[in-house]
Amino acid sequence: MYNTLKQITLVHGVSGHEHRVANTLKEMIAPYCDESYIDALGNLIAVKRGYSENPKKVLLCGHMDEIGFIVNFVEDSGFIRVAPIGGINWVACAFGEVVSENGVHGVLVPNSGTKASDFAPDLMYIDIGADNKKSAERRVKIGDTFVLKSNLTKLNASRVVGRPLDDRAGCGIVLEIAKRVAAEPVADDIYYVFSVQEEVGCRGSKTAAFAIEPDVSLTFDVTGTGDTAGSKPMAVKLGGGAAIKIKDMSVICDSEIVDRLARLSKEKGIKSQLEILAYGGTDTSSIQMTGSGCRAGAISIPSRYIHSGVEMIDMNDYRACINLAFEFIKE
């Protein structure tokens, strides 16, 4: 399970440039689905047909894209100016090792003498070790994307730190569910959606849901926790189990789904906690409101230090998410 997750985090996939992740996952999920395709925006959609004669359509979604940087100018000096893709915390990324989609390594640094509170794209650049524009342009061109280097590490028996767990952890969970469903068939048609461009406004899941017209959906994404030093009050904590989303800033989840997940958690002895996130949003909202709408819920993976290079999750929570989702689908 950890090895699969690690494998998925190693692939480069900034919003709008997810094709490498899509191709990797397409291969990984192939043995566990009936068919799969990549749509116009780049979403990977895989289907496993159920045994029922009148199957419902259940959509399970995790987003493939990660936040990162896009090259918009190469200076005469060979330094590279970038713009953010998604919610970049510039302080968290400063002095970080970055790598481009084509494997070019570099460091993201601020202009000399810049105060940490002033870190922003106009005062930062990537140094790829090039002496001048010409040599830089041999390796990097406008439109190339960079990310903070992937670096998943086990801290102890259950805790894992690194990036991009947002949201390859969700992709990993959807993949693990696919394995379970293949081993133990369910009545309904299950659509596994690995969506694009969540970090820039939930764009991919909108068109994927439009094409599928699901009856029910579950989204898997990371959520913040209230258990770090100085954190705002929040009931979710690392190791507390699968987080059943009630609401965030973009969505109010279907209350029947919330109740059913809570009941299943109790009945089956799967550790869970209820989540109300006071900031952020996920694909849940775009799926809920696409077409004539669908019943939408979400199971979140509690995560500390989201959007930094040291995102942290607990594999016991990860496992709980898979188990809870599978019980839900089975029912």
Binding site: G16, N72, G143, G204
Partner: protein
């Protein structure tokens, strides 16, 4: 009368078409395109669609917006001064002392945007920018009743600005509404060229002239749901920073270096394969094109790419200085590059891009 090239661009730019009142522009486009396409229709929202049938019924959409930034009358006071609100993003610094045309279905009337003159300002306020709510439009009427003989609350306004060609070989155009009548103009010329040369395009191609882009209530959103294209080319104008004092990495693009191809902006991340097809088409046909070097702005692609099951989009913009002012400046060389590039793309488009 059928106009071409520079005359057509000037004709379209001088039409009265603020956001929400695009009928005059729409009618001009329909008139210019008569007998040139397989079908031309206007929808309830005001968008105009011109269809050129191709070999395959797979659909390609090309879109330019007809609306321009402008004004709406919000109040008329007893002295006959007209309060207004802006339609679309207009810098208040641009407004004071500018000539405008106000109008509705029946009337057009000249006016000027006024505020307290520098002589009447307090010393400390002299060099501050007057907010729009303290400005008014003066149409030379003595009172409210006289104003209301011509225009009323809810009526529209646009900049009144001569269209001028200037610079060496008259290469540059200056005027209002170049954003995005230049795109509309290119589409008309492309449609005519396809017809005059009896060219059969590979795909059914819908030329969409859209409404309400400038306030984000995009007509293109409606158009995309209606056309259901698999690919879309968006023709736009982009603000450009090749101006005095801008640092190199904020210049966006250069006027005169061809159409500006977007990779990412605030509303869209463009399809990489389609962008590469665009750049390669330019290269193979020796047409100038450049990549946009800054992540900024947004356009109708923001709505189009998320419509239906998703649409592969590319945006080609005309680099325009002083955008959203009465004196937008653009290069006619760029206009021609964009027209040639889009024409070449439509002819050579394959199913896989």
């Amino acid at each position: 009368m059928r106009l071409q090239g520079r005359e057509l661009l000037e004709y379209l730019c001088q039409k009265f078409g603020p956001t929400g009142f695009e009928n005059e522009v729409a009618d001009a486009i329909i008139e210019q395109l008569e007998d040139n396409c397989d079908r031309i229709v206007k929808d309830t929202f005001g968008n105009v669609y011109a269809l050129i049938k191709g070999e395959s019924s797979d659909r390609v959409m090309i879109s330019s917006h007809m609306d321009e930034v402008g004004f709406m009358i919000t109040d008329i006071d007893s002295d006959g001064y007209i309060k207004f609100s802006n339609l679309g993003g207009i810098d208040p610094k641009v407004l004071y002392g500018k000539q405008v045309i106000l109008g509705n279905e029946k009337t057009r009337i000249n006016g000027v945007i006024a505020a307290k003159a520098i002589h009447h300002k307090r010393r400390e306020d002299r060099f501050s920018v007057t907010p729009i709510k303290e400005m008014y439009i003066d149409i030379g009427a003595k009172d409210e009743d006289e104003v209301k003989e011509y225009v009323n609350i809810g009526d529209f306004g646009v900049f009144n600005s001569d269209f001028v060609f200037f610079g060496t070989d008259n290469k540059y155009a200056k005027g209002k509404a170049i954003d995005d009548r230049a795109g509309c103009c290119a589409m008309i010329e492309i449609i005519r060229r396809i017809r005059e040369n009896n060219i059969t395009l590979p795909f059914d191609t819908y030329f969409c002239f859209t409404v309400r882009e400038e306030v984000g209530l995009s007509g293109a959103r409606v158009a995309a749901e209606k056309v259901k294209p698999s690919r879309a080319i968006i023709l736009e104008s982009t603000a450009i920073g090749d101006i005095a004092g801008a640092p190199d990495h904020k210049r966006v693009a250069d006027v005169g270096s061809g159409g500006v191809i977007s990779i990412m902006d605030r509303s869209t991340i463009y399809n990489a394969d389609f962008v590469n097809f665009t750049l390669n088409t330019a290269k193979e046909n020796y047409i100038k094109a450049q990549v946009k070097r800054y992540v900024s702005g947004g356009n109708d692609a923001g709505h189009i790419h998320k419509s239906g099951k998703g649409v592969k989009c590319v945006a080609i913009s005309m680099g325009t200085r002083y955008l959203h002012s009465p004196a937008c400046v653009a290069s006619m060389d760029d206009y021609e590059s964009i027209r040639e590039l889009v024409f070449a793309m439509l002819k050579n488009m394959k199913a896989e891009v």
